[in-house]
């Protein structure tokens, strides 16, 4: 029995508590503690990842020594290791980035923000490692509650958007809990592993079908799967840069992860594809979401709102990978979780730098930023190219696997959607790139626009941005290592036509 799975969320919780106490006095101290906590959790995750990837065994931890199904079990397999490493990494990077942006955008009480960030991370990592469907709900709400506080920071509209998110998120959480109730009363246990052994006999049960639909529906709301995305653009647009950079890259993905977990490890093989056409439904909604998100992103003038709609589209890729239900497409979806976390984290962080240095958020006002902060904009360009899917950035490879998957499945409509969406995202990202590098002195079309006079990004923000940009390239070029070491074993259950 390994301590690693339990150590990740609990250490984050502990650090959250300490940093809350420190944060009452000193925001700086809280930040340092938050960074330390994230790095510690990242270190533990990475250790576990190594053990899982090379040792090959799933790490299990029974809380309180009560063997499942009596107690709650933590399961640290390839998928969980993959997710927690990503989450803690992103968290650490954003926490390093945070202080300057927070000081500029939130009015005091920064000491309270860092514990909230740690709590979000604790909740999300908890969702990843738990082996109990009810415990997953508890962590889901821990993350959600801490996230509401973060999201309500920021501009004046933020609380309205957050309250709407809260209400809708409560419905999502409620549906998930309702699904848990149905599943529990149909099968008699809450442990994922035990459910997996019990459910094959109950496949025909209407209660199990309803449970599956409800749980997936609830998680899909939390994931902002089209058409249940409508809370998302307002939230990302109005919130401050730091919460956006923390929550946009990872939070919705963890719900996607939970859907994948339910599908692969809880419900019987084939249940989501043949028993109830959940996978196909997710796929079709995702395909619609990709087109919808991309088209609306083109229509936006606000940088963050554009990114938000682009998120709706990008989440569609993950959903599409689920919908295709074959191993290679699922690899694409899982890879896209990491890629999109890097890309969106980078883009929101760049948005934060721009806002900090120039106070601007609208794309037409970005004229000349390329000259004011060249290196930040190189990083932005890398992120944008990755979003479009230009090789060898990471964004290309997830799309490539999804294309292979849809070719294999013969899903030509989805194939076309993936191809078309790249073109659409090229339109809205190159619009920004063009604006950034335009020079008002020599360009008659923008000469009445005020050029940016600003310093480059401060080191504490430039370094995290650089790390993300590097991550995009590394995750792209060495994607096979990730696929071979972790993802192939995860998607193996799908190989048998399931």
């Amino acid at each position: 029995m390994s301590q690693i799975p339990a150590l990740i969320p609990t250490s984050l919780l502990l650090f959250a508590l300490v940093s809350l106490l420190v944060g009452l006095r000193s925001a700086r101290g809280a930040q340092l503690l938050a960074v330390a906590g994230m790095l510690f959790a990242f270190g533990v995750s990475a250790l576990g990842l190594r053990e899982v990837a090379f040792g090959g065994d799933t790490l299990r931890y029974a809380v309180g020594n009560w063997l499942p199904p009596i107690g709650i079990e933590f399961v640290f397999d390839s998928l969980a290791a993959y997710m927690t490493t990503l989450l803690t990494f992103t968290g650490a990077v954003v926490t390093v980035y945070a202080p300057k942006a927070l000081a500029a955008e939130t009015d005091g009480r920064q000491g309270m923000v860092y514990p909230s960030m740690l709590l979000v991370l604790a909740g999300l990592t908890g969702m990843c490692v738990t082996g109990d469907i009810f415990n997953l709900y508890v962590f889901l709400e821990v993350a959600a509650l801490a996230a509401y506080a973060l999201l309500a920071l920021g501009e004046r509209g933020a609380p309205v958007a957050t309250l709407r998110y809260l209400l809708f998120g409560a419905v999502g959480g409620g549906f998930y809990l309702l699904g848990v109730a149905y599943l529990y009363f149909a099968a008699g246990t809450l442990n994922m592993a035990e459910l997996a052994t019990l459910l094959p006999e109950l496949q025909e049960s209407r209660a199990v079908i309803v449970a599956a639909v409800l749980m997936v529906l609830g998680l899909a709301i939390k994931m902002a799967l089209f058409p249940m995305h409508f809370w998302l653009p307002d939230v990302y647009t109005n919130t401050a840069s730091v919460p956006a950079a923390l929550i946009a890259p990872i939070m919705t993905k963890v719900s996607a992860y939970a859907i994948i977990r339910l599908w692969l490890d809880v419900f019987p093989p084939g249940f989501f594809t043949e028993g109830v056409p959940i996978a196909a439904a997710i796929g079709w909604f995702s395909a619609a979401g990709i087109l919808y998100g991309s088209v609306l992103a083109i229509a936006q003038h606000d940088y963050r709102r554009m990114l938000a709609y682009s998120s709706v589209g990008q989440l569609g890729y993950i959903g599409l990978g689920i919908g295709l239900a074959n191993p290679i497409a699922m690899v694409g979806a899982l890879l896209h979780i990491v890629n999109h976390a890097f890309m969106k984290g980078l883009l929101f962080m760049v948005g934060g730098v721009i806002k900090l240095r120039t106070g601007r958020t609208r794309i037409p006002e970005f004229v000349g930023i390329g000259r004011a902060m060249p290196w930040t904009m190189v990083a932005f360009t890398i992120g944008a190219l990755a979003m479009v899917g230009i090789p060898p950035t990471a964004g290309f490879f997830s799309k490539w696997y999804l294309l292979l998957g849809s070719a294999e499945a013969g899903a030509w409509v989805w194939f076309a959607v993936i191809v078309a969406s790249s073109l659409l995202s090229a339109i809205y990202f190159f619009r920004v790139i063009e604006m950034i590098y335009r020079d008002p002195e020599r360009d008659s079309a923008v000469k009445d626009r005020e050029p940016v006079e600003a310093d480059g990004a401060p080191v504490s923000m430039a370094v995290p941005i650089g790390i993300m940009a590097g991550g995009i390239m590394v995750a792209g070029i060495f994607n096979v290592l990730i696929v071979r070491a972790l993802l192939e074993s995860v998607v193996a259950p799908l190989a048998g036509g399931g």
Binding site: E141, V142, Y182
Partner: protein, 112 residues
């Protein structure tokens, strides 16, 4: 809009009732939930944790981590309320739109 909502709600309700058809009857002692792991709790709670109240035993021991999570949830909520409400007092700009005179009078934002 309202009509669409009601239609949607009816569909949700119908779906839930349809699924509940395969749930056990009320009070059925043979239901999976009643014969599953709960048997262990009933039989061993006293022995394992020396407390006659099985709910307490499950809550605080067998599934203690849920309860821990519950405590975290409360902490998170308290922190969230703090962040949301305290922030108000630090606002310096006291700006324009739609700020009504404050109801409790302790927030300077509306007046300034």
């Amino acid at each position: 809009m309202r009509f669409a909502s009601i239609l949607l709600l009816a569909a949700v309700g119908g779906f839930l009732l349809w699924g509940s058809g395969d749930l056990p009857q009320r009070g059925d002692p043979e239901s999976p939930a009643s014969t599953g792991i709960s048997t262990y709790y009933i039989q061993n709670a006293y022995h394992d944790s020396d407390t006659p109240n099985m709910v307490t035993a499950v809550l605080a021991d067998y599934r203690g981590f849920d309860t821990f999570g519950e405590a975290v949830v409360v902490t998170a909520a308290a922190l969230s309320c703090l962040v949301i409400l305290l922030r108000r007092r630090r606002r310096e700009d006291g700006s324009e739109t739609g700020v009504f005179p404050d109801l409790d009078g302790d927030a300077p934002g509306g007046a300034a």
